[in-house]
């Protein structure tokens, strides 16, 4: 929380990248506390590691100081944020109490996954069996998203120019 506020308030982009890394590391520990070790792995490796490196790589190409934003009134953005936030809070009022075992999400397919997964897939880790087997289509979609992201970056940045290197900025 403190790091998030610091990121908003700071003007030095280098320090901001570092703070974002610290923020990711802290949320990774938070995920460990919540017993979501899978997510913690990903957060620590991607959030604290790779994305910080990528931000630093970007900074080395550009400048490390943020330009002072043009001053304009903050009233309209503030109103939009307040209305959206109020709508979201209003939406949560209908949700079942946190951790309620009778909540619809715990009644639909979750009991079947938890009860039948060991005998149907033979895997002790239910997360893996749900992710890879019962929800195979979704995971295929996720991999395709990552594939598309990689191809996009390669097309935008990674393609070697056909002509000699010297001609013009891209």
């Amino acid at each position: 929380m403190v790091t998030a506020l610091a990121i908003v308030l700071m003007r030095d982009l280098f320090a901001m990248a570092m703070m974002a890394g610290i923020y990711s590391l802290l949320s990774a520990t938070l995920f460990v506390v919540l017993d979501a070790v899978d997510v913690a792995f990903t957060e620590a490796a991607v959030g604290a590691g790779i994305s910080t490196v990528l931000m630093l790589a970007t900074l080395s190409l550009t400048t490390t100081r943020e330009e002072r934003p043009p001053r304009h009134t903050a009233l309209i953005p503030l109103a939009v944020v307040l209305i959206t936030g109020a709508a979201l809070v209003y939406g949560t009022l209908d949700m079942p109490r946190w951790g309620d075992p009778q909540a619809p999400i715990h009644q639909h397919v979750a009991p079947r996954y938890l009860e039948d997964s060991p005998s149907e897939t033979g895997l002790p880790n239910v997360v893996t069996s749900v992710l890879a087997s019962y929800r195979g289509y979704d995971t295929l979609g996720e991999v395709t998203v990552i594939f598309t992201a990689g191809v996009g970056v390669l097309i935008l940045l990674g393609v070697r120019r056909r002509k000699s290197d010297g001609d013009g900025e891209s």
Partner: protein, 142 residues
């Protein structure tokens, strides 16, 4: 690239451990926490660390760009191919039960293969993005 002795030695010690941990997360994901996504990013992080310390040229010698492109597409194709193999063997798309005589071992095989596909794609996309970012400044200087 300037020569940083301490960095080089420590990195050489760390990278095998990181890669080993990535492989553990990859293939032990059925039993413990982890899986293709996590293993992929850990492997990618190990490789990016190597590129940071030993320089981009050395890293690109280990993993040239054409190899990365093949791996990115290969992971997705492996995943989709497992689904098609299920179709050919008479099941539904991405139905692993038919991959082997016994449904449970078929599930095992299918999950192992698709997790490997996921890991391959994630790791090579991470490395590709890093190479694209880091190579950009290098090319402008030269």
């Amino acid at each position: 690239m300037r020569h940083h002795l301490i960095l080089h030695v420590i990195t050489k010690l760390m990278i095998p451990l990181i890669v080993l941990f990535a492989l553990y997360v990859q293939f032990h994901g059925d039993f413990g926490p982890g899986g293709g996504f996590q293993a992929g990013v850990i492997f990618g992080a190990a490789f990016i660390l190597y590129a940071l310390v030993f320089g981009l040229e050395d890293a690109q010698k280990v993993m040239p760009e054409w190899l990365i492109r093949i791996l990115i597409a290969g992971g997705v194709l492996l995943y989709a191919g497992v689904g098609v193999a299920g179709l050919l063997l008479g099941g539904n798309y991405l139905d692993y039960n038919v991959l082997s005589e016994d449904p449970v071992s078929g599930q095992h095989l299918g999950i192992l293969l698709i997790e490997f596909g996921v890991g391959t794609t994630v790791a090579s996309v991470m490395v590709a993005i890093f190479f694209a970012f880091a190579g950009r400044g290098r090319r402008k200087e030269g």
